[in-house]
């Protein structure tokens, strides 16, 4: 069976570490990025099936990063999940839909919920 690839993009090292460890234990191939710029740099090589993206990040926000990812046809099918403390309002949720974000996971993260959501999104 082909292992699914997941990229974790977050500027908080502790979150990156704990999420990566969890996903690796579950058999996923995990790459990480500390911000949007690094995510875009690593995309061609890592070719993830799913990106777990933080919203508030220095240099390039999660939203900006997703806009840039969606501009590239090569990553048209990559699934993206926001994991964030951000409380998007109705207008923000419309933007989330336009960016074709598959799901939102609220921080602080529940590892149980994260596992469930990752499975759900990858099965879609």
């Amino acid at each position: 069976m082909v292992q699914k690839k997941i990229m974790v993009v977050d500027d908080e090292p502790d979150i990156v570490k704990s999420v990566s460890n969890l996903l690796e234990k579950q058999g996923y191939v995990v790459t990480t990025a500390r911000n949007g710029v690094e995510c875009l740099k690593k995309l061609p090589k890592s070719k993830p099936d799913l990106i777990l993206m933080d919203f508030f990040m220095p240099e390039m926000s999660g939203r900006e990063t997703i806009v840039k990812i969606r501009e590239k046809p090569a990553y048209d099918k990559v699934k993206i999940v926001f994991m964030t403390v951000a409380d998007f309002r109705e207008r923000g949720m419309q933007n989330v839909k336009q960016l074709r974000v598959s799901a939102l996971i609220s921080k602080p993260l529940s590892m149980k919920q994260l596992t469930k959501k990752v499975l759900e999104v990858l099965r879609e």
């Binding site: 508030f56 990040m57 939203r63 951000a86 998007f88 923000g92």
Partner: protein
């Protein structure tokens, strides 16, 4: 998108949090006209001044015959707090101390119970703060306004309509209006 003074007034009435695009060439005068309208429609307004010292803002209010008594100011520009203390309706916070600024706005909203909070303008902070820090601050303040139920108006120069900070902030506001 709501455009023009009347429509913006209506938009503010109908929405809790408004991102307001203001023409750069008439930024101050356009806002002052809006404040004049707001001061008639609302009895308590909190003005968080990130652009200009309150002394200058009050000078403009006098020119435009805006009732300054309806406003409470948080001034992040004036360095000498004693200048602001002369005014009863003003407090000074260092612009680079975002924790203090957030607390001050939160406490003032709780105590003074304003109908409207104007933050003018988050974009000014880009000169000395990372965009992610400003977006977090805006998100934090909006959460505080949500709890208190008061309205928020975040003016920005229209030319920054497509700037990343504007687009990120759009995620947390109810409406984008244009003067």
């Amino acid at each position: 998108m709501s455009k023009g003074l009347d429509k913006v007034g209506k938009s503010i009435e109908e929405n809790q949090i408004t991102l307001l695009l203001v023409p750069g060439e008439s930024y101050n005068s356009s806002l002052l006209k809006l404040f004049k309208t707001l001061s008639k429609d609302y009895s308590r307004l909190l003005y968080v001044a990130l652009n200009r010292p309150v002394s200058k803002i009050i000078g403009d209010f006098k020119k435009y015959r805006i009732d300054e008594k309806k406003f409470y100011f948080i001034d992040t520009i004036t360095e000498d707090a004693s200048l602001c203390k002369k005014l009863k309706n003003c407090e000074v916070v260092a612009a680079n101390d975002l924790v203090e600024l957030s607390l001050k706005v939160g406490n003032t909203v709780s105590k003074k119970k304003p109908d409207v909070v104007i933050v003018d303008s988050f974009h000014t902070m880009e000169a000395y703060q990372d965009k992610a820090v400003i977006t977090r601050l805006a998100h934090d303040l909006i959460a505080k306004l949500d709890i208190s139920g008061c309205k928020g108006i975040f003016p920005t120069v229209r030319a920054d309509r497509d700037a990343p900070l504007t687009k990120d902030m759009e995620m947390f506001v109810d409406n984008v209006a244009e003067l």
